[in-house]
Amino acid sequence: MPISRDAVLDWIKAYADAIAANKDYLTQLDSDIGDADHGVNMHRGFQAALTKLPGVADKDIGTILKTVGMTLVSTVGGAGGPLYGTLFMQMGAATPSKQELTLADWATALEAGINGVIMRGKAQLGDKTMVDALTPALAAIKEATANSASLSGALQQSAQAAEQGMKDTIPLVARKGRASYLGERSAGHQDPGATSSHLLLKTAADTWAGAS
């Protein structure tokens, strides 16, 4: 059973909840090496996205994802707004008219989203950004697909890879974003954007655990 449109809506709602629950944690991480707003920003954006969902609940998955992306762009601000906005808008652009997503569809969407993030932010792997959580997650999905893993298994593995990527940001010296101003002092702290990106993939794996 692939990922239904309702499952996509559930995922977005679950992620909004996860952001709400982790708002202070994300802001705290951003205090250490940034400007103490990442949790607040993401929360504002996803609360706004929630209010848009009823209006697109009967539309295709591409439209839903694009709507979320556009809402994030116009409500989050900061680095997170354009980056998460682009991620969702590109995922939406990659899933036009879809009523459900197979594992391959999801991999395609995620890849398009991540490429968008990299185009916009020009971060590379190891720059201590959300890309460090997203890129390994995509690689894990591709590998799982190559190994004919189940959908839920692949999602699980991508969440684990994102978690590892997130943790791997700790020792890094930031080269992009606000943390880069700290130079060497940015090492020893986990990147807030990588943390919110891990949450995104973990929420997907949890919400879609029944998919196959």
Binding site: T27, D35, A36, D37, S74, A79, Y181
Partner: protein
């Protein structure tokens, strides 16, 4: 958290309503998307000059909207760059047919949001140029990082670009003024205390009673290094030295010297710092032709200061001296 506010989520709206109540003779505030524009915008045939950024840096940028400076400013949430729709609407509101200059401080968020807005505005047929300010010598510049932050130079560039636009210079010429001011300007800042982002509710960093942060930006982010508190003379040297060396400013240069308070620093201390800065400049043969002393680009209630020097020429001096009439900066009119 000790602040004169109602609820953290209402700070920016309450402040904007305060501006409406106080300055309706000078500016007009548009809500949703939020921006502050000159009361008489768009001025026909004049280049529109706009900027924007997170709130918490007042009077920048909203306090600089008015004749001779900005045509509009877009306030984001506290320390969060505004969204593209704000800049797009502001751009449309101030376009008098001669194009619009976006003055963008070099932060990943500001750059990306302004870029999206410029793309959208161009798609609607408005000529837009964006100039990025990146004057903070505390940050090592590099092609492979986010580069230097845009700080104090932004205020000075807004003033001089605004004056150039009043003279009906072309979009390219006004943008050239911005590039020149930024190219010839350098800044560095320090903090005695952290600030508290209203939503976060507690200080962004803890600083022991006998320590300070050197090389901070304007978002309460920690600086390049932490060290024991020193005298005003030593602190000023720690800020001015790297600034003077970086451009470098040379003997005989004529400069605009800007000693800026971070929001929680009283004026008496800024004059003590200015006194040291004047001595340092004199010692290097650098002539201070103009000065600005006060809290103009702030970090909420952070205590501390920053220094900005811009190498001036006759054109820039005339643009600096030109009349300006905004809530935050006013002379000649």
């Amino acid at each position: 958290m000790k602040k004169l506010i109602n609820k953290p989520e209402d700070v920016v709206t309450d402040e904007l309503n305060g501006i409406v109540a106080a300055h309706s003779d000078l500016v007009r505030v548009h809500f949703d998307p939020n921006f502050i524009a000159r009361a008489d915008a768009p001025v026909k045939g004049k280049v529109g000059v706009i900027s924007g950024g997170g709130s918490g840096h007042e009077p920048m940028h909203g306090g600089f909207v008015g004749m001779g400076m900005l045509d509009a400013a877009c306030p984001g949430a506290v320390f969060t760059s505004p969204t593209p729709d704000q800049m797009l609407e502001a751009t449309k509101a101030v376009n008098g047919g001669a194009g619009v200059l976006h003055i963008v401080k070099n932060y990943t968020g500001d750059i990306m949001n302004f870029e999206m807005a410029a793309d959208l505005a161009r798609a609607e047929g408005i000529e837009v140029e964006a100039v990025v300010t990146n004057d903070d010598v505390a940050v090592k510049d590099s092609l492979y990082t986010a580069g230097r932050r845009g700080v104090g130079v932004t205020v000075l560039a807004e003033k001089m670009c605004g004056a150039a636009a009043e003279q009906k210079r072309s979009l390219k010429e006004v943008a050239d003024v911005c590039r020149k001011v930024n190219g010839q300007g350098r800044s560095m800042g320090m903090a005695l205390t952290s600030c508290t982002v209203p939503h976060a509710g507690k200080p962004t960093f803890d600083l022991p009673e006998d320590e300070m942060e050197i090389g901070v930006g304007i978002h309460g982010e920690p600086g390049r290094k932490r060290m024991k508190l020193q005298t005003a003379a030593e602190i000023t040297e720690m800020l001015a030295g790297p600034i003077l060396d970086d451009l470098p400013f040379k003997s005989g240069d004529s400069v605009l010297a800007f000693v800026n308070g971070m929001g929680g620093t009283p004026l008496i201390e800024l004059y003590v710092v200015y006194n040291e800065l004047a001595k340092i400049c004199a010692g290097r043969g650098v002539k201070i032709a103009r000065n600005l002393i006060g809290s103009y680009i702030t970090s909420l209630e952070m205590a501390g200061c920053s220094i900005t020097l811009v190498k001036m020429d006759d054109d820039l001096l005339r643009l600096w001296d030109a009349p300006v009439k905004t809530p935050g900066l006013r002379w000649g009119v």
